[in-house]
């Protein structure tokens, strides 16, 4: 970095226009840096509070030196959008929004990490990040006798791409659907015509692809008369609830754990079979800090007979630490000593729990696969899977 910075108002204005207006609020107190999960890792020094100042000066990605640009780009794309910085910020600055604005510009120029580029391309071409055919989107539901959604049904169940296609995560969608059926919930699925909700795509800055997804899904919801959507992923939940309404607001969304809690209160589902396990619940950042759903998942778990619910001391609820899967972290990789999932799992292991309960397909994947690479054997289960087991099913 050179000692003299040339102020570049063009860069500043472009970033602010792309949605980075929060930079103006920042007074560089550094609380964001203290709360950022990356800085919990010994190896990383992620100077988050500098972003805003540098953007105000137009001094980000302004270098002509390839190595400096590369380092800057790594930093810009490191943020997983867990929002712990916004939570701590005295002025409510969302660094993930600020960085998203910077990313939009980089994505427009095509200069972003190759592995993200492939996911965005796959998603754009096939409607899901796995690049699987749309026809297979409801394969998970084979044999479950779930109706195609139509206007006479109360809810559309939108399982998110990973549970729709991934062999392991399919079990989450299946357990959920079986519980809903058992409880007599009136719901249906669409499948083929759906597009990924594209929340993660928006976070990496591929705004145009996000817009394509929104257009597709809102047209579809309109056409089919969807009023309420149940989501398995907190990421679909967030974007349906907070971002889609800007384009179409005639539908509402809720996270499946909220519905489970309601159904339990109404005695529509009664967990009977004992699950004699100590379970630790990991708050997904998107469901917790960002959507403020903390209690319903816990209520569901606590109502299961035999189950002992434990917490990660201090780092629970709004202080939960990200699994690293957000903003397409699910598709990226870092050296082992730079993996957020490793750090979080070490915290989780200390609780001595037999099972890690999650309420997000990203957390499920990140933890399961990281546990493997750590050479451990610790089951990770979605709340729907534990609940289904306690309803007297395997």
């Amino acid at each position: 970095m050179s000692n003299v910075i040339t102020i570049n108002p063009d860069i500043r204005e472009t970033i602010i226009e792309a949605g980075g207006d929060d930079v103006i609020k920042c007074y560089q107190c550094g609380k964001c840096m203290a709360s950022c999960p990356w800085n919990l890792l010994k190896k990383i020094n992620y100077t988050t509070y500098r972003f805003c100042q540098r953007i105000k000066l137009g001094a980000i990605i302004e270098s002509e030196d390839k190595e400096e640009i590369a380092t800057d780009t790594i930093d810009v794309f490191r943020c997983v959008g867990c929002d712990s910085c916004r939570y701590e910020c005295p002025r409510g600055v969302s660094l993930s929004d600020v960085l998203r604005a910077v990313r939009r510009i980089l994505v427009d120029f095509g200069s972003y990490p190759a592995e993200l580029k492939s996911v965005v391309t796959r998603l754009y071409n096939s409607g899901n990040p796995l690049g699987e055919p749309a026809e297979k989107r409801t394969d998970w539901a084979t044999g479950l006798d779930i109706p195609q959604f139509n206007e006479s049904l109360d809810y559309l169940y939108f399982p998110c791409c990973v549970p729709a296609y991934d062999t392991r995560a399919k079990n989450v969608a299946q357990s959920t659907a079986k519980i809903l059926k058992k409880a007599g919930v009136s719901f249906g699925i669409i499948g083929k015509e759906e597009f990924c909700c594209a929340e993660a795509v928006r976070r990496v800055g591929a705004e145009k692809v996000f817009q394509t997804a929104v257009r597709n899904n809102t047209e579809l919801f309109k056409k089919k008369g969807v009023k309420k959507v149940i989501t398995t992923s907190p990421h679909c939940f967030l974007t349906f609830k907070k971002e889609y309404p800007e384009y179409y607001d005639k539908f509402d969304a809720l996270h499946v754990t909220q519905l489970f809690a309601q159904l339990m209160k109404a005695k529509k589902i009664i967990p009977q079979k004992e699950v004699n396990k100590t379970v630790v619940y990991h708050d997904p950042c998107t469901l917790g800090r960002q959507m403020e759903v903390y209690e319903e998942p816990r209520e569901v778990l606590k109502s299961i007979p035999g189950l002992k619910l434990v917490e990660v001391p201090m780092f629970n609820r709004e202080f939960s630490v990200c699994c690293g899967g957000g903003a397409m972290g699910l598709w990226r990789d870092w050296p082992e000593d730079e993996r957020l999932a490793n750090f979080r799992l070490h915290q989780i292991l200390k609780t001595g729990a037999d099972v890690v309960a999650v309420a997000c397909p990203y957390c499920l994947q990140m933890f399961e696969e990281t546990i493997k690479s750590m050479g451990l054997e610790l089951p990770v289960m979605d709340i729907s899977e534990i609940l289904y087991e306690s309803l007297g099913n395997k």
């Binding site: 492939s118 996911v119 690049g131 296609y165 598709w331 493997k372």
Partner: protein, 327 residues
């Protein structure tokens, strides 16, 4: 009818395989066009090379000079342009290799010759050259018809015309080099060999992917042996890289490389989606896994449910047998 010319590619004294493919291709076209095939060779101390080439063409035009000891696209361009101007062949074929990429566009432009690259198939009818080449990252085969012209130039993808044994006896014509020295602005300096261990798995036709199912690092040599025997290269899933058993550049998957080999053999890989997205475009996928429910079987064209340590030796033996039978 004018001749067909094919440019000989050699490196460090060895004729590259592509040359024989070009000559096989050239001979076929020449036969159909009722004309003859000329191999063009630039080199130094070319006797042994000429000996090898003799049976593949009707004529060999050779420029033997120290200048051509190593490939330099500039000297080649000047020399070949000179020869083409004098001899006006109807078609010049060159390999679609680093060598051809470097030379052909500038040469075609200098000669003002219609030119197309990376051809998979070639046909000449009524003096019109029609070729097949791929588009959209290999998803489409396109037929391209070149503007009618007395002469054409193409580069040919390696492997498109399997080399056949030659049965001709070439007449050799020696020509003097039209220049005295390499141009100042571009000189051959040295060969830099790729460091051992550096392999580009995205370029391999056959990949043998290993996963946690191989259990111990000490089991890798057996699999490597197997890979070599079938002409393949080792790749792996992330845990193998995490364990430090293979370098990161061998990792297939969302955070590794995306590969599209002709054959991908997955040994002891469960098939997590981060792995699958990196290899599902392979032409043929064979999976070996103990667990019949492993997701990898959803992607595989052929699946073997068994212990990989039993399957690999058996597979190796069979493949070698078939290879031997085919000569």
């Amino acid at each position: 009818m004018a001749d067909i010319f094919a440019l000989v590619e050699h490196r460090q004294g060895v004729i590259r395989d592509i040359t024989y493919e070009l000559l096989t291709c050239g001979k076929k076209i020449a036969e159909k066009q009722n004309t003859q095939l000329t191999a063009v060779l630039f080199g130094h101390k070319t006797e042994p090379l000429l000996e090898k080439l003799k049976s593949y063409a009707h004529h060999i035009v050779v420029v033997d000079n120290e200048l051509y000891k190593e490939f330099n696209a500039e000297t080649y361009q000047i020399t070949l342009a000179d020869i083409l101007k004098k001899k006006s062949p109807m078609l010049t074929i060159i390999g679609h290799t680093a060598f051809g990429w470097d030379l052909c566009p500038a040469l075609a432009s200098q000669m003002n010759t219609p030119f197309t690259t990376d051809c998979l198939d070639i046909e000449i009818t009524d003096n019109k050259l029609k070729v097949i080449r791929q588009m959209f990252d290999g998803k489409l085969n396109a037929r391209v018809i070149l503007k009618e012209n007395p002469s054409y130039m193409i580069t040919v993808r390696s492997g498109s015309f399997p080399a056949e044994q030659g049965n001709l006896s070439a007449e050799i014509e020696k020509i003097d080099a039209p220049i005295g020295a390499e141009p100042d602005y571009r000189k051959f300096i040295e060969y830099i060999e790729a460091a051992i261990g550096e392999v580009d798995i995205t370029k391999a036709d056959v990949l043998v992917g290993i996963g946690r199912g191989i259990k111990e690092q000490t089991n890798i040599p057996v699999i490597e042996d197997f890979a070599k025997a079938i002409g393949g290269v080792l790749s792996c899933s992330r845990p193998i890289v995490d364990a430090g058993w293979l370098p990161k550049d061998r990792q297939v998957g969302s955070s590794g490389k995306t590969v599209k080999p002709k054959l991908y053999i997955a040994l002891g890989i469960s098939g997590a989606f981060q792995h699958i997205v990196g290899m599902k475009a392979s032409d043929i996928i064979i999976a070996v896994n103990k667990d019949p429910n492993a997701p990898i079987f959803n992607e595989a064209d052929y699946g073997i449910v068994d212990d990989l340590f039993k399957v690999v030796p058996a597979l190796k033996e069979k493949i070698l047998e078939v290879k031997q039978a085919k000569g």
